[in-house]
Amino acid sequence: MTNIIRILALAAVLALALMLAVVAGDFGPWYFAWLVGTTMIVLISVAGAVLFETQHAAGDTPYEHSAPTET
């Protein structure tokens, strides 16, 4: 039951997002670009951090065994 509710809620969000995209795309191309662009900027920044963790786990960062260096 909770799964069905969750799926319905997500479907509603999806429908709303699609409607917003269609309206914004039709009447406000720059608004649409902002919605897509801002999402992309956030995701790229997040991806950069996730990549950092992967590099860190592989020992590719200079911080592996760094002891605290506070002053």
Partner: protein, 543 residues
């Protein structure tokens, strides 16, 4: 009678309060989305350090937000107190987005800011992340409405003048909200905020890396900010180009001043001036370095459209002034007699009414009906000349903004590249450049705002209402008193912001965290991929 000193003081006061306010706004716009990005990583990976990053940068954001809100409040009241003629003329149209902006800022943004700061231990991780995104959306949406209002001042769409009420009447909410000017302004300005926020986080992180302090914290913050900044700075340039083209289409006087074009040339010859010293008095450059054949494709995006220079614009304004004088005289007659013939005469010249208002200050006793055949040419000439904004200020504020824009792209590109290679600490000069660059985006924003608003002169509502007719009828003493009061108060705000920012940034994340009660150091990540569940973080050894 309009007192020009009161108008100048009102302008100075608004410019001062707006310039002060705009020192804070861009950082708020950008920091909120950077915080949301950091918290997203915390929710995905479950690593405590990203929560600490969100909280530490959130604290610096909080200082800026609180002072920024305080400086913004007065401006909304200034429209009523110092610009009452303007508020009367366009209140119907301008008031709507301004009211929505107030609701967005006070209800949505402020409510969620409270939840963001105090909800860490009360909300689930997902709910808190949603709140942080809503803060980001709220702050940027409140900017949207003020920029829609400003978009109307630059390109008044969605309204028409009603001679019965003597005010602009609201006709179309859709036209107002989806005006191309408002759209491009919104995206350019918010992205300028993203650049400002990214440079701030990157610059402070660079400072830590240079001093070998909080290295793991700083390296991650730096990485996220550099990537955030490189895309944002590229997008700012793209939108800057779109705004320039819009100015070419709807505000040619602004464009001519921005590019220092005194004379119209045959397309596609129009030269692009790299450097010039424009002289407004003689309408010539004292010196210039320019490249021919660049401006037409750059601005018009084709090779055939002529870019009108100041000479052609002034010439076409003269005809408009004559029509405008007829419109205003007919409007006055209609106002007193309600004569249909007067209304018909007004309607025939209505589109140039604003140019008639412009001529008013040069008419005998500021009364257009006293214009005679003898004094008409000189009045028309002066009013037409007034339609050109100050070229020197416009040319240089625009040039400096654009120059800084390209500097940011270069700085972010190098920073992102070396951060991705984890070689930042091998390039101390780059780290120093990033630290010194912290205030530059704020400066670019101020130049951008000067470009937009100086370029709109001599109008408050482009083509409809001149600035000198928009002010209230205060006396000079009142204006001087309030101006000095604001300058003093706002300088205190700036001093408080700088003191707190330097203090907390210098203290760094460790001191911040020892003062903040901690949630459990490690939480289960939302996505449990291998590599992201590294429990070594549980001991917070990075501190």
């Amino acid at each position: 009678m309009i007192n020009p000193t009161v108008v100048d003081l009102s302008r100075l006061q608004f410019a001062l309060t707006a310039l002060y306010h705009f020192l804070f706004v861009p950082l708020t716009l950008g920091m909120t989305f950077i915080l949301a990005s950091m918290e997203t990583v915390y929710v995905i990976t479950g690593k405590q350090i990203y929560k600490d990053m969100t909280q530490f940068w959130g604290k610096l954001f909080g200082i800026n937000f609180a002072i920024g809100v305080a400086t913004g409040l007065t401006m909304e009241f200034e429209f009523g107190t110092n610009w009452s003629m303007y508020s009367h003329f366009v209140g119907d149209v301008f008031g709507t987005p301004l009211a929505i902006e107030g609701l967005m800022a006070f209800f949505m943004e402020s409510t969620f800011v409270g939840l963001m700061f105090f909800g860490w231990d009360r909300l689930s991780r997902g709910a808190h992340l949603a709140v942080t995104f809503l803060v980001a959306l709220g702050s940027n949406l409140s900017a949207l409405w003020i920029l829609i209002a400003n978009g109307f001042m630059q390109d008044p769409v969605g309204a028409s003048f009603d001679p019965k009420t003597m005010r602009m009447q609201f006709r179309s909410f859709g036209a107002l909200v989806f005006s191309p000017d408002a759209q491009a302004k919104f995206v350019h300005t918010t992205l300028a905020g993203f650049v400002t926020g990214a440079m701030f986080v990157m610059g402070v992180s660079a400072y830590y890396l240079l001093r070998k302090q909080h290295r793991e914290f700083a390296a991650r913050s730096f990485r996220m900010a550099a990537l955030f900044g490189i895309i944002s700075s590229l997008a700012v340039v793209t939108l800057g180009d779109a705004l320039g083209r819009l100015d070419f289409l709807v505000q040619p006087t602004k464009l001519a001043a921005m590019e220092g074009i005194w004379h119209t040339s045959k397309p596609p010859y129009a030269p692009w001036k790299i450097f010039a010293i424009p002289d407004d008095k003689t309408q010539k450059d004292l010196f210039n370095v320019s490249i021919p054949y660049v401006l037409t494709p750059l601005v018009a995006h084709d090779f055939t459209s002529p870019i009108p220079g100041v000479d052609a614009l002034e010439h076409s304004a003269r005809a408009k002034v004559i029509k405008g004088i007829k419109a205003v005289v007919a409007l006055k007659a209609y106002g007193t007699t309600r004569n249909p013939a007067a209304l018909a005469a007004f309607r025939a010249n209505e589109s140039d009414m604003g140019y008639g208002f412009l001529a008013q200050r040069y008419a005998p006793d500021q009364d257009l009906s006293k214009i005679t055949v003898q004094n008409l040419p000189s009045i028309v000439q002066k009013a037409a000349r007034d339609t050109i904004p100050n070229v020197f200020v416009e040319f240089w504020s625009f040039r400096l903004m654009v120059l800084l824009g390209f500097v940011f792209v270069v700085v972010f590109a190098f920073c992102a590249y070396y951060s991705l290679r984890n070689e930042l600490e091998k390039h101390p000069l780059l780290l120093k450049a990033a630290t010194w660059a912290i205030p530059l985006p704020v400066l670019a924003c101020e130049f951008g705002w000067i470009t937009a608003e100086n370029g709109r002169q001599p109008w408050t509502v482009f083509g409809w209402l001149p600035t000198f007719q928009s002010a209230s009828s205060h006396d000079v003493g009142y204006m001087v008193f309030s101006l000095v009061g604001f300058a003093f108060l706002y300088s205190l705000f700036i001093a408080a912001e700088l003191y707190l920012m330097f203090k907390f940034a210098r203290l760094g994340p460790v001191q911040h965290l020892t003062q903040t009660p901690h949630a459990p150091a490690f939480v289960q990540p939302a996505l449990g991929q291998p590599g992201f569940t590294d429990k070594s973080w549980a001991d917070n050894s990075w501190q």
